[in-house]
């Protein structure tokens, strides 16, 4: 059986170094299999997150040869095995140990987003009627597995560390899903502009490129949100309309 070399970042809270491990590789293996094998045979205390091993839970995010990916969905045959495969933790979040990072910030951001608020049930049976087409529009966003790879590559977070001012692509997708939810009646445009910093995104589309769920983050979520914010806050005509609209209700 063939062997391959893996350079895995080992260390705690940002300090550490790459360690090289040789391990046997078999057909069909994914990076996570190799990491598990190394863990079981050579490095028992290696820290790594995973759950489903099928690209569904979004736990096993890492940077493989510099590319943000799910370890469980990255086949070894898609990598050049004649040189070492580098595996590092995500860089946009505080490091914990080895391949594990501290994702608490993401959970805190989500809690700040005004939650789903449905309109009153309006079907005779006390529920709602919703057209499939309206569901389709947001289902793309709801596929998100919260792997945070998009957050990891977004330069606003990764390079400029604007975690306080910017919610990041994952939560722009989340907010878009709420805003376009066929039953939702809340309005999140003001916080989007202020606390959540939608304007800080300059549409580089790096997030879209890494999304394992192929969500068109920039085109389908961020740009429409930006347009709504612009329409509301910057377009003088709409502003007028709103003032009149308001005074009538």
């Amino acid at each position: 059986m063939a062997k391959a070399t893996f350079r895995i970042w080992r260390g705690e809270r940002g300090r550490g170094a790459f360690c090289e491990y040789d391990t046997e590789v078999a057909p069909g293996m994914v990076v996570l299999d190799a990491v598990h094998q190394i863990q079981a045979e050579q490095a028992g205390d290696l820290a790594v997150r995973w759950n489903c091993k099928a690209g569904r839970c979004g736990s096993c995010s890492a940077e493989i040869n510099g590319m943000p990916k799910l370890m469980c969905m990255t086949r070894l045959n898609a990598l050049a095995l004649d040189r070492p495969v580098t595996i590092e933790p995500m860089k946009a979040f505080p490091h914990v140990k080895d391949l594990v990072t501290d994702l608490a910030w993401n959970y805190a951001v989500k809690r700040r987003i005004p939650p789903f608020q449905p309109r009153k049930p309006d079907a005779p049976d006390g529920t709602w009627r919703i057209a499939q087409a309206d569901v389709d529009r947001v289902q793309e966003f709801r596929k998100c597995i919260e792997c945070y790879l998009c957050q990891d590559v977004c330069h606003v977070l990764r390079e400029h560390h604007l975690h306080e001012q910017f919610m990041g692509p994952r939560f722009l997708v989340y907010t878009a899903a709420l805003e376009m939810h066929p039953l939702d009646v809340d309005d999140r445009l003001a916080p989007l502009k202020k606390e959540f910093g939608v304007g800080l995104c300059n549409i580089t589309k790096c997030c879209t490129k890494v999304c394992p769920e192929s969500i068109a983050i920039t085109d389908n979520a961020i740009i429409p949100l930006k347009e709504r914010v612009v329409d509301r806050f910057f377009d003088p005509l709409t502003k007028l309309f709103r003032i009149f609209g308001h005074s009538e209700t």
């Binding site: 069909g28 028992g44 205390d45 820290a47 995973w50 839970c57 736990s59 969905m73 009627r129 569901v135």
Partner: protein
Amino acid sequence: MSEYIPHEHDVLVIGAGGAGLRAAVEASAAGVKVAVITKSLLGKAHTVMAEGGVAAALGNVDDRDNWRVHFADTMRGGQYVNNWRMAELHAREAPARVRELEAWGALFDRTGDGRILQRNFGGHRYPRLAHVGDRTGLEMIRTLQDHGIHLGLDVFMEHTILRLLKDGDRIAGAFGYDRERGRFHLFRAKAVVLATGGIGRAYKITSNSWEYTGDGHALAYHAGASLMDMEFVQFHPTGMIWPPSVRGILVTEGVRGEGGVLRNRLGERFLFHDIPPLYVNQTAASEEEGWRYTQGDKNAKRPPELLTRDHVARCIRREVREGRGSPHGGVFLDIAWIKEKLPNAAEHIRKKLPSMYHQFKQLADIDITAEPMEVGPTTHYMMGGVRVDADSQMSDVPGLFAAGECAAGLHGANRLGGNSLSDLLVFGQRAGEYAARFARECPLPGVDAREVEAAERRALAPFGRSSSENPYSVQHRSQEVMQELVGIVRTEREMVEALERLRELHAAAERAGVDGNREYNNGWHTALDLDNLLAVSEMVARAALERKESRGAHFREDYPSKDEQCGKWNLVVRKGAGGEMEFTRVPIPPLRDELAAILREMQ
């Protein structure tokens, strides 16, 4: 001297899958202080992986459906050893629980007139599974999680409970550690809800994640609660089998619900050759009729691919054993063939089964819209678990509740697809409600410092024995034992051997050592999970030895038929006075007249 971080709550929910989150939401709504504990991050529990759908007799697609039919289907699927009161509550309450999710933001696929769409699944007479493509579990867990985070729950992510604590007979809390730092935590609580899921990691080939080491089962057992039905482990007929590294990953039954068929190497629809007597009246007579059923023809009967999982899994095993399997030791599951029937079949498949399409494309280089998949059985679900009161979900330890996969009763000898997600909602809600009620009525119990100290010492022991047994290796060996000797087809000789090997592994686990420190040390975590894994493995093997018949998911080669006498009891296990596993046959109480009448009527 113990060193731990103390916490106090009214209700402690262990597990943040569908059952745990639903329980926490309910308890919190009742106004008590609630904590949720999970081994992983929030939103990553097993529930996220559920694909096919959630069963509820909404009657949106076929208005002949109602709770009575769902009840009868569940009992038939469970071969009548279910807790019938649970089956009744489940069937009655599932529709309301599903609609409630919609009010919290879940978006299910729709019917033409804008109601929740429902799909066919094995053992369900009518299209009954509300779904979102093939990622229903994600929709469900995200909805509950996002609803829950605004209710003031204390969420402890990546914390693992090692021990339940008691004050006399009643529950007093739980003791555990956080994965990140390896610090100990003492959670005092008036009521505890176990929602820890299943035991799939006891086997080598499984659709389950690392978390499924049977923790809740073992925690409850050591706390003196009774467990039930431990012999009933569900093997899902269709897991991936090739390449080797993906072996066990689930291929949803939804593929068959959408018209996918199973064929052997000779191209035969082998399931037509063997239809169990309980289902003859409900099964299609021809391939043509089966197809019409999947396309919504109300006069057609189900194709045999949608028979219950236990049966389909055994038929696949038989085809392989008798030399009619696929090249890698499974059979073919073909959805691509529907192009003979439908225009735009490829697009239809990608739309209806997007995750399956990607899973095969990415992991196996197979385009399921063009070629068949190779599939074989994989360990999937635990019917057995904590024995609970049907209405309140309380175990026989006062204050200890259980819901979801770690509780027993609803599914009997075999669970129907889709009945788990609904189980989580219905009984998660009930457990939350009754746990809150229990907590409101009693003071905070005391904890026994010695108990805590003992748990702490035991947890740290692996550090003192570095470089003896490798915990990963003990785990792998134990998984092999269960896979080989206590799998889909069982015999006394093999199970006796399994018990012997498990005993040796117990000793090996006592020697398992770890390197490194306490910070996020996966080796240590694996060593700590071994106790639970071995305890549940032993329980499964002993229970399976004890049931000398074949019923549902439990198949004995040495007792291949069903024995009516054995259908009159459930096997209950608890920890005996001397620490041994004590099994008793507990008679199943007679059905209420109304329910008995339903079963007669629907035969």
